[in-house]
């Protein structure tokens, strides 16, 4: 080939970006939404829009949750409770439905009132798994595709810095008045360089979270001599997953409140946030109590296991040094801590990643459009369809999902599944529309985004009474925040749709592509 180093890095950056850009946009978009998953959950599940719990004291699980859990999850091999928090004030009960799925129900912590079935997966049940698994469970292929995209993102960041000719002199440069390819490249470089620390940390930490999936040799070689139980032993020593089989003899469950109090004493005031009852009603029942991860970046693994029938402590776990490092890096990515300003900044930085990916793809298109048309190549057509569908089309499908959430009647059977199906149908339509309308699809889908976002905010006000002026006045930021972002989206998408497209003469686009180095 006889390429210089920079040319080879340019080819690498171009190809990795064009092949995986669409997938990367999906991952960044769903990750950005997951930053506010609990808040979007409350928007999508109006029955859970309760007042924040009192900071002191814990609700009584024995009085307010057990009767509900023992009625709903009768016969389930285990059930889980998430205690109320500022971001999710309703207690959440989860148990397996016996058909491979999980049932999620909410309980008002103060009264023990079972709230109506939400009939929705919400953001935490749809956007969040989408972000790391793409909802592809077969052979764990979703994890591997996300992992491949994550590795590619690291390659793109490094090669992007190498091929960027003037990192420092162009550090603040954005020329929106210039023609499309130049303005797009400015925006790509600006978002890429300014948010580089965030993009690098968030990509690397995302890979580190799943080290056991992506780098199984690490634990397989260390636990090789254990034999068949290697995975279980590793999980117990690293994550504190303690297990024992049921006895098959019935026995009542001891007081959960006493176990919570014992756990708090064990952690010198550290609060529990998660309780799981294993084999409820069995003589070998045991209760897993995990410590809150809300006040530190490192997601601690402090867990206490109690005997279900006597309340005696069976096992304690704390993260060992290596796992503490892993949990710090993972905590930087998960942001399960309570810090509103940081949460907002993560959201913006995530969106800047979406912008960087979309402008990178758009620059590729604009630099080649004329040449491909001249030579009768189909590359631009294909990449344009993929880019439109996976960027603006994905945003439109997300908004269609929110609109469906406010339109479908609550009593509808299979409502949660229907919401998700509407998302995928809307997304497929966006791809189809992009293939049909080619370069006009950008503008038309921007209009669709503007209309859908306005509709979602409007429908929330109509169906729940929590319209934006009311929630702003009452300081209910979780609902007001989602509606506010929807209104802002309408405004921005409207501006983008009305913006006159300024194409350059093919000669200038070609010169710019040559300057960057043709991929």
């Amino acid at each position: 080939m006889g390429m210089t180093f920079r040319q080879s890095m340019t080819a690498l950056h171009t190809w990795a970006g064009v092949v995986l850009g669409a997938l990367l946009f999906v991952i960044f978009w769903m990750g950005s939404l997951s930053v506010f998953d609990r808040e979007i959950d409350r928007w999508m599940m109006p029955m859970t829009r309760l007042a924040a719990p009192a900071p002191a004291g814990l609700p009584s699980l024995d009085a307010n949750l057990r009767p509900v859990a023992e009625r709903l999850a009768a016969g389930a091999p285990q059930w889980t409770i998430r205690l109320p928090s500022a971001r999710a004030p309703a207690m959440e009960l989860r148990y397996p439905d016996g058909a491979g799925g999980t049932v999620r129900r909410h309980v008002e912590a103060a009264s023990g009132r079972l709230l109506a079935d939400a009939g929705s997966a919400g953001a935490s049940g749809f956007f969040f798994p989408f972000h790391f698994r793409l909802h592809l469970k077969w052979l764990d292929i979703g994890y591997w595709l996300v992992g491949l995209a994550g590795m590619a993102m690291l390659v793109l960041l490094v090669s992007g810095v190498i091929i960027h000719r003037r990192v420092f002199s162009d550090f603040f440069t954005f020329r929106p008045e210039r023609a499309l390819p130049r303005a797009t490249l400015d925006l790509h470089n600006l978002s890429g360089v300014l948010a580089l620390p965030f993009h690098a940390v968030v990509t690397l930490s995302g890979l580190v979270i799943f080290f056991a999936v992506y780098f199984p040799a690490a634990w397989q070689s260390a636990y090789a001599e254990v034999g068949a139980g290697a995975r279980e032993t590793f999980n117990r020593e690293a994550f504190g997953s303690w297990r024992r089989p049921p006895a098959g003899v019935a026995a009542p469950l001891a007081s959960l409140d006493a176990m919570l109090a014992a756990a708090e004493a064990e952690w010198q005031g550290g609060r529990p946030y998660f309780v799981r009852v294993w084999h409820p009603g069995d003589a070998a029942a045991y209760v897993e109590v995990r410590r809150s991860i809300a006040d530190d970046i490192t997601m601690n693994l402090d867990t206490v296991y109690f005997d279900g029938t006597t309340g005696a402590v069976l096992h304690r776990h704390e993260a060992q040094p290596v796992m503490r490092v892993q949990r710090f890096i993972a905590g930087l990515h998960f942001i399960q801590f309570e810090h509103g300003i940081l949460r907002g900044l993560y959201f913006l930085a995530g969106l800047s990643g979406c912008l960087m990916i979309a402008t990178g793809l758009l620059f590729w298109l604009e630099a080649r459009r004329a040449r491909h048309a001249r030579h009768g190549l189909g590359g631009v057509r294909l990449v344009e369809g993929l880019t439109v569908g996976s960027s603006v089309g994905l945003i439109a499908a997300t908004l269609a999902f929110l609109v469906a959430n406010r339109l479908l009647p609550l009593a509808l059977p299979g409502r949660a599944l229907l919401e998700m199906q509407i998302f995928f149908v809307a997304w497929a339509l966006a791809f189809g529309h992009a293939g049909w309308r080619a370069d006009r699809a950008w503008r038309e889908q921007a209009w669709a985004i503007a209309v859908l976002a306005a509709l979602a905010a409007l429908l929330n006000g109509v169906t729940t009474g929590d319209h934006l002026p009311a929630t702003l006045a009452a300081g209910r930021w979780e609902v007001a925040g989602v509606d506010g972002v929807l209104v802002l989206t309408t405004f921005l998408a409207g501006c983008a749709a009305r913006r006159p497209g300024r194409r350059t003469a093919p000669a200038e686009a070609g010169a710019l592509a040559a300057e960057v180095g043709r991929g």
């Binding site: 002199s169 603040f172 954005f174 929106p176 300014l194 530190d296 801590f337 810090h339 300003i341 940081l342």
Partner: protein, 106 residues
């Protein structure tokens, strides 16, 4: 520091914005856009850079004072990303807003 949390946050944003504005002004292109004048001495550019970097360090320190080392460092990096973007957009749309900063270093 809880009673000063709001103040420290605003101060960190202001120091970061000012620091990046000075670093931008030390580049000939942006100096011309803001002042309309030709770039002057290398000494002035060097001074702008020193003060600019010092302001960024101050912004980092203020964020760490507000939230401790762990949360403060993460906050500082993301805040600096946000204010650097704000400086870039100021230069694109309203460069004259930075004329006062430029005058201080004429």
């Amino acid at each position: 520091m809880a009673e000063f949390a709001g103040f420290l946050l605003v101060a960190a944003c202001a120091a970061g914005y000012l620091g990046f504005a000075l670093l931008a002004l030390s580049l000939p292109r942006h100096w011309r856009d803001v002042t309309g004048a030709v770039p002057a001495s290398p000494r002035r550019c060097a001074l702008q850079r020193v003060v600019g970097y010092a302001a960024l360090v101050l912004a980092f320190a203020l964020a760490v004072m507000r939230d401790g080392a762990a949360f403060g460092s993460v906050l500082a990096i993301l805040l600096l990303t946000a204010v650097a973007t704000a400086v870039a957009l100021t230069l694109s749309w309203r460069p004259k807003l930075l004329a006062a900063v430029a005058r201080a270093f004429r």
